[in-house]
């Protein structure tokens, strides 16, 4: 019987090969990468020490200090220190310290994640690596501790739902809108325990940063992974990173078994908004108008990409943010920051009145660097608008694509970017000659 991408990647990483493994089976598999960050990492290290004192395979371990980064208090500073000492003690060579980047954008950028990789991370948004045809999945600290100790972990091979996108790409519609549309369609538990598989020819008209928007939020539909099938965009990306010989792409078999296949014609889609307090509470932008905004927050583990920064700059260019609005922009990695400087994007942000920062998970996860007070409203291109996600449980968060977020900063309220910006200019600014 045919296999899905998820089945193939998991089976190929099993510690002992077995015939006919399929969705629903429990297996033991060796990840290529075990990812720790400064939130779940210290808990994982604590649990690890209850099992053993030696990491099974230090070369598989990657540590990123990006959440409480730079540390806003002593507890966070001690946690960061604990991770640095753990890396040294265990011979873990890859530790990305403060300012290097936010984990899920950083690892592909540095060539750590490849198509076909099995990545387990102590972070729910590890699903982001699906954008690169890899199996990424989030785990709690104890699972990570066990993987550190044994070098392998238990997995339930997930069922898969296939999502196919067809049609032409409408103005101001990004990967964020596609995934919000899907979450609205299947619900916030519509893919629980399952793998979401993304395909269809329309995806060739989006870039790999926009694939990250989508895989990143697969977990917001409950999914274990959200994996893109290899296409020309991913093949091009892999070539640019690993050279022309790269060939570990994983494709589903034509007779692979899916729980469901859902097809979308995106031609008439508009920018989408998830209203408070659920990523599934989604409406088209034409149905939301005039909501006043206190803070706009742009940038996180999948939405502080070069594409997002260009999208923000395309709207902010030559404009000022509205009175009484704060705009915080996070470049997801140091290299992206550098690139944005070179392209003049940072100048545009500063001229517009933005607070521009280096990489940090910051207020996206309600940690520090811009929390919301009671009664405040935020518009953001991040992935979660749960009650209290960015600070006060009495604040409200609207999730949007980057154009809509930037437009809200300029207008001081939620507006349709199609009403304030010219698509052909924006398109040229963001995508240049590429589309």
């Amino acid at each position: 019987m045919g296999k899905t991408i998820a089945e193939k990647i998991l089976v190929s990483h099993m510690i002992e090969k077995a015939a006919d493994v399929k969705a629903g089976d429990y297996i033991l598999a060796k990840p290529d990468i075990i990812l720790l960050n400064d939130v779940s990492g210290p808990v994982a290290v604590k649990q690890f020490r209850r099992i053993t004192n030696k990491v099974a395979d230090p070369d598989k371990v990657v540590i990123v200090i990006d959440h409480f980064s730079p540390p806003p208090n002593l507890d966070a500073a001690s946690n960061n220190k604990l991770l640095r000492e753990f890396a040294k003690e265990q011979g873990i060579k890859i530790l990305f310290d403060i300012g290097e980047g936010i984990e899920h954008t950083l690892l592909p950028e540095r060539g750590v994640v490849k198509p076909g990789s099995l990545v387990i991370g102590g972070d729910s948004h590890t699903t982001t690596y699906g954008a690169f045809n890899a199996f990424g999945s989030g785990f709690g600290a104890t699972d990570i501790a066990v993987a550190l100790a044994l070098g392998y972990l238990w997995f339930r091979v997930p069922e898969s739902i296939r999502f196919e996108f067809h049609g032409t790409r409408p103005p101001f519609v990004t990967g964020k809108d596609l995934i919000l549309h899907v979450i609205h369609d299947i619900g916030v538990d519509g893919a629980t325990y399952m793998s979401m598989e993304f395909g269809g020819e329309a995806l060739n008209r989006f870039n790999i940063d926009e694939y990250m928007h989508m895989s990143n939020m697969a977990v917001e539909a409950g999914a274990k992974a959200g994996i893109f099938e290899p296409n020309e965009v991913i093949i091009e990306w892999a070539k640019s990173k690993y050279g022309s010989i790269f060939n570990s792409f994983v494709k589903a078999d034509p007779d692979a078994k899916y729980v469901d296949i859902r097809k979308y014609d995106i031609s008439t889609m508009e920018p989408m908004i998830a209203k408070p307090h659920s990523p599934g509470n989604v409406v088209p932008i034409s149905e939301v108008g005039g909501v006043s905004v206190n803070q706009v927050y742009i940038g996180n583990c999948a939405n502080g990409t070069p594409t997002d920064l260009r999208q923000a700059a395309a709207i902010l260019k030559g404009r000022k943010i509205a009175d009484n609005v704060r705009l915080i922009i996070v470049a997801a990695t140091r290299n992206i920051y550098k690139q944005a400087l070179k392209e003049g994007l940072i100048d545009i942000f500063i001229e517009a009145g933005a607070f521009v920062t280096h990489s940090t998970c910051g207020a996206c996860a309600g940690l520090h660097m811009g929390l919301l007070a009671d009664g405040e409203v935020a518009v953001s291109n991040i992935n979660r608008n749960f009650r209290g996600r960015m600070g006060s449980a009495k604040a409200e968060i609207y999730l949007t694509n980057t154009y809509v977020a930037a437009a809200a900063a300029v207008a001081g309220k939620i507006v349709d970017p199609r009403k304030i910006a010219d698509w052909s200019e924006v398109k040229n600014f963001v995508y240049g000659a590429r589309t």
Partner: protein, 181 residues
């Protein structure tokens, strides 16, 4: 093992940000985490919990972030079990891994909700009741008053982890026996 305690009722899609807000994630000590459980939505919840109490929730309990502080904090606060219509994947694993008993039992959730009109209830986001749950962990039978319910059986592989006590013990056994599989 028998679990017995008063029931706190929650709705669908309770996320881990609501259970323990991000700004407390630098805390790793369970008893300290416990002080902030559900702080944003129900500030006096921590004072309403008595050791042994049980949470009854709707679908997709524990969705969102992978933070293990969510089940760890609930357990440290005194919550002895969670019964829900369904659990989000990472929360399910985390609860099993740290030894917090969880049960999938939609009919129990519906029945408990039907009692809310007549029960003594305080709270809004979390309804603390004077209804008691009694759970026989070994058989998976749940008693609400004189009503008896079966729960969805837990997969064999996960039972193996539960029998070890926690995933930590399971891993230790594997290292001891140097088993590859």
């Amino acid at each position: 093992m028998i679990i017995e305690g008063y029931i706190h009722v929650l709705g669908d899609d309770v996320d881990t940000d609501v259970i323990i807000p991000g700004r407390y994630l630098m805390i790793t000590e369970p008893s300290e985490v416990a002080k902030h459980i559900f702080e944003g939505v129900e500030p006096d919840f921590v004072k309403r919990v008595r050791p042994g109490d049980v949470i009854v929730a709707g679908k997709n309990f524990g969705c969102g972030s992978s933070r293990e502080q969510a089940p760890v904090g609930l357990k440290a606060l005194g919550i002895s079990a969670i019964i829900a219509k369904s659990f989000a994947r990472i929360f399910f694993r985390n609860a099993v891994n740290i030894g917090l008993p969880i049960f999938i039992a939609p009919q129990v959730v519906d029945y408990v909700n039907s009692l809310l009109e007549t029960a003594n209830v305080i709270g809004s986001f979390i309804k603390t009741t004077d209804v008691k749950a009694r759970i026989d962990v070994d058989t998976g039978i749940i008693y609400i008053g004189d009503k008896q319910f079966m729960t969805t059986s837990i997969p064999k592989f996960i039972q193996e982890i539960m029998r070890s006590g926690s995933l930590i013990e399971w891993a230790k056994e594997r290292l001891r026996s140097k088993q590859i599989l």
